[in-house]
């Protein structure tokens, strides 16, 4: 992945809104296309078959697009056993390349964290197979939600990080900035026109206004160290008292990646599958002996916060939160992660 930077884009063009359908048509000819679509009351990122399905006037999708790269349920291999023998078949890689179109910059940036945690010494072949074959075209946020806090998490409403191409709505068209070489190749499509100085200036203004509109999260410097000091502070119990222990925050999160491995068998054959799991569930760490190092919501919630704001910054040099705000808006008891971070930042150091 080639992360981009701010400033003047390396190459940018204009995509007029009336030419968007033809661009999407051509994308659909070559690739599987995922984009925001309306499903009942909510917007979800789903595979589309026609440009008309795409909804780009939206705040953010209910679910993060991580499932496109890291599905809720993923077969790792099939097996067949008979006495004294076993055969293992690994599913073939992806044949058709894909594009995720119109996701938000926070979610695109979340992929960079997944790249880190699923990479490394034991590179996850299932994830990277999908990642390598999937272009990411994001749509910058010109009006961030009150629940959004990407800027405080090191990203931004118009951040190009994690995208191949970044679109910015200029009302009659989009300014398209290529962030990677793959993104630049997309700009070769005839739907794109040359950009002009005026568009660039407007884009710059929109970006600035968008960032200024965001309320910063009060967060202590060196929070990762500070959190280790307040690990045993009684404040955790107060902070988590209302938590219901459901998996909404982790399942909707673009960077939560914890999983379980299960066998689903019928007779002598079956599959080993990977399924999403959540640190908020008691079974996540319960040992077969019944012992559980994280027996109550307090330890489990603390793990989630520590993982995102202390452990990942230490091990991967990146916060485990991109500030998409889904956990803020969707938590049934409005347990707001921004308030949690703020409250812990104000702690006395344990």
């Amino acid at each position: 992945m080639i992360p981009g930077g701010y400033g003047l884009p390396p190459s940018s063009k204009i995509l007029k809104k009336d030419r968007l359908p033809s661009f999407l048509e051509r994308l659909l000819e070559e690739r599987i296309v995922f984009a925001p679509v309306r499903r009942g009351e909510v917007i979800l990122i789903r595979e589309i078959h026609a440009p008309s399905e795409v909804v780009l006037e939206y705040e953010n999708a209910k679910e993060s697009p991580k499932s496109i790269f890291f599905p809720e349920r993923e077969p790792l291999f099939r097996y067949r056993t008979e006495k004294g023998k076993v055969e293992v078949d690994i599913p073939p890689g992806r044949e058709r390349s894909r594009v995720v179109f119109g996701i938000r910059p926070c979610d695109a940036r979340g992929l960079l964290l997944l790249d880190k945690v699923l990479g490394g010494e034991y590179r996850d072949p299932y994830y990277f197979d999908k990642r390598a074959e999937t272009l990411v075209v994001s749509l910058a946020c010109d009006h961030p939600n009150p629940s959004c806090f990407c800027l405080s998490m090191g990203g931004g409403p118009c951040s190009p990080e994690g995208s191949d191409l970044l679109l910015l709505d200029l009302s009659d068209g989009y300014l398209a900035e290529a962030v990677s070489e793959r993104g630049a190749a997309l700009l070769e499509d005839p739907a794109f026109e040359k950009s002009d100085e005026e568009s660039l200036a407007v884009a710059k203004k929109i970006k600035r206004e968008s960032e200024v509109s965001m309320k910063p999260v009060a967060m202590k410097e060196n929070l990762e160290e500070h959190l280790e000091r307040v690990f045993d502070d009684p404040v955790w119990k107060d902070l988590t008292e209302t938590c219901l222990g459901c998996g909404i925050c982790t399942y909707l999160c673009p960077t939560c990646y914890c999983f379980d491995l299960c066998d689903e068998a019928a007779g002598s054959s079956g599959e080993r599958i990977r399924v999403w799991d959540s640190c908020q569930f008691p079974l996540f760490t319960q040992q077969a002996s019944g012992l559980n190092p994280r027996p109550t919501a307090k330890e489990r919630f603390r793990q989630r916060i520590m993982h995102k704001f202390s452990y990942l910054p230490k091990s991967q040099a990146m916060l485990g939160c991109v500030g998409c705000g889904r956990c803020v808006t969707e938590c049934p008891v409005n347990l707001d992660i921004r308030e949690v971070v703020k409250s812990l930042s104000g702690g006395n150091g344990g």
Binding site: R73, L244, C246, D336
Partner: protein, 317 residues
């Protein structure tokens, strides 16, 4: 609303001062407009956090089982019914809980308000009687509160607490009996259509268990979906596994569900969980003449056996 808030605060202050309870479980203002949320008040000086408005949608009874402290709980009609069930099921001791009953005019569904205002963003909301005054950066709008209620509140026939120790505000007129119009429509479908509908709904499920965890009557120490020895159902979002989860949960709540709607409100992806629960609420009512959580005396029909129990439900579904 301010008056109810004041009354709740005064009661909480008194209960804490007189050491009648160690904790008051109520609502406070949330972190965003259109949000109120559960809170736990243990000190007199914190009672001013308590708050009441049309967004106090959580079923607070969920916090009662296994609680060691003597607790007071702010209880709407549905909450009080949940407490009644919990007492009957021996999960809560009657003498360890004080119900601060609040007759409820129904809670407002914030997603409806948000979609009615969209794409404008609501920055502030005031609630005065039956009006909601929304304010955004460049607009102000007044909505009629009763038009934006949660589904479960629209069909509620018990807005007044069925059990209470203290009452806040005045008794509301109870609505007529729920005609279960939605369930009648559902029942009129063919078996195949009903199955298709449920499959379509269940396919949205992400298995986050928010419905289960938000439910005041889902208190099993180990839910059947979590059992590993034996493992009853798969852990993935495979539709058959997800369907079994929702069906079994609904059956486990048959005769116990108090129609508070907490499950549906907690669901982040909009699964129509209520359809199943309400279908069973109606069935239990039709078959046994029973409604869950109305009083402490009546025994739950599915937790008892009588030789003359009707067989039609079992024999001819």
């Amino acid at each position: 609303m301010q008056q109810l808030t004041n009354e709740i605060r005064a009661i909480a202050r008194k209960l804490l001062r007189e050491k009648k309870v160690e904790v008051v479980i109520g609502f406070e203002r949330g972190s965003m407009p259109l949000r109120s949320r559960p809170c736990f008040i243990r000190k007199e000086e914190e009672v001013n956090r308590l708050f009441w408005d049309g967004f106090c949608e959580n079923a607070l009874a969920v916090y009662l089982p296994k609680r060691k402290e003597r607790a007071a709980i702010v209880a709407k009609g549905c909450d009080s019914r949940a407490v009644v069930e919990l007492i009957k099921e021996k999960q809560v001791q009657r003498d360890r809980v004080i119900l601060i009953g609040v007759p409820c005019r129904g809670m407002v569904d914030r997603s409806r308000i948000e979609s009615s205002a969209a794409p404008r963003r609501i920055l502030e909301m005031r609630e005065i009687e039956d009006t909601l005054i929304l304010r955004g950066t460049d607009f102000e709008e007044t909505l009629k509160r009763s038009e934006f209620l949660h589904e479960s509140c629209k069909t509620c026939t018990h807005p007044n607490p069925v059990l209470h120790d203290v009452l806040v505000s005045e008794w509301l007129e109870e609505k007529n009996e729920d005609p279960f119009a939605d369930i009648q429509t559902f029942d009129a479908l063919t078996a195949e259509e009903r199955w298709d509908y449920l499959n379509k709904e269940v396919d949205k499920c992400i298995r986050c268990y928010a419905c289960r965890n938000a439910c005041p009557l889902c208190y099993c120490p180990e839910c059947f979906v979590d059992a590993s020895l034996p493992q009853w159902i798969g852990k993935s979002i495979d539709s058959s596994d997800t369907m079994i989860f929702h069906l079994m949960r609904a059956y486990h709540l048959a005769g116990r569900c108090v129609s508070c709607g907490a499950c549906e409100r907690a669901c982040p992806v909009g699964v129509d969980i209520r359809k199943l629960n309400r279908k069973l609420v109606k069935d239990v009512k039709d078959l046994f003449g029973y409604e869950a959580g109305l009083n402490l005396e009546q025994t739950s029909p599915l937790a008892t056996f009588r030789p003359d129990d009707t067989e039609s439900f079992i024999v001819n579904p």
